[in-house]
Subunit: 140 residues, 2 copies
């Protein structure tokens, strides 16, 4: 199997497969006489593992950790769970951060008439005029 087929089978672009090899996430593949990389079912399985981990928001570094744990038959499930839990906490922190932004923005947007006049509480807030207390909207 060439890199194109491996890409189709795994959902990882050929560019990324080469990159993962370059940074040591996956082992350098064997080459045919024409210098093409050769892939088998095993490699596709690994690439799909990586793809799935990336889809769950794990960084490549975390993905590498998970990949090593997967291949280490002597791992403990606690060590895997630890990686997942840390990632969950990180995701939740980022979600909360963005939710705070959304809350403020919705409040400001709600206060903005959105018409032809130049007067705008959104700009006032950004400019530090800050007359709008960011209280919970009654509607919430």
């Amino acid at each position: 199997m060439n890199i194109g087929q491996a890409s189709d089978a795994s959902g990882v672009s050929a560019k990324m497969i080469r990159y993962y090899e370059q940074i040591g996430l996956i082992r350098p593949m064997g080459r045919t006489g024409n210098n093409y990389r050769v892939y088998g079912a095993e490699e596709v399985h690994i690439l799909r593992f990586i793809k799935r981990a990336r889809n769950l928001g794990f960084s490549l570094e975390e993905t590498e950790t998970l990949l090593k744990l997967w291949q280490d038959k002597g791992r403990t499930s606690a060590s895997v769970k630890e990686v997942a839990e840390v990632h969950i906490v990180d995701l939740e922190r980022r979600i909360a951060e963005m939710q705070g932004m959304v809350k403020t923005l919705k409040h400001l947007s709600h206060c903005c008439s959105g018409d032809d006049r130049p007067n705008c509480p959104i700009l006032d807030d950004l400019a530090g005029v800050a007359p709008a207390p960011v209280r919970a909207k009654k509607r919430a």
Copy 2:
């Protein structure tokens, strides 16, 4: 005021102030005889505007748009609101995406015993074993 004081007064690092100047987000500052940039209250105000926009998750490109609207006395509040609304939608999309990850991860983590045994449903999921019935897509 030198760049260090402007940085302290605005919360934007000196590095970033120079960068914003370089990419044209702010105008090149006047220099003293010793080639130091000079800042006044006006510039600090602009930097704080930028800082606040960044804190609300606006990209530098969006920030530039907002900055221009702020300085355009003939703007319409509708044009400002539009920028904000687009950003809100984007934030909500990203939040939903991450919430999906958290949901899956929490389920997997919950199913993982987290002890000394190697058996781990988190790795099973990543590897495509997919026995988890919550949202198991049997994609061939």
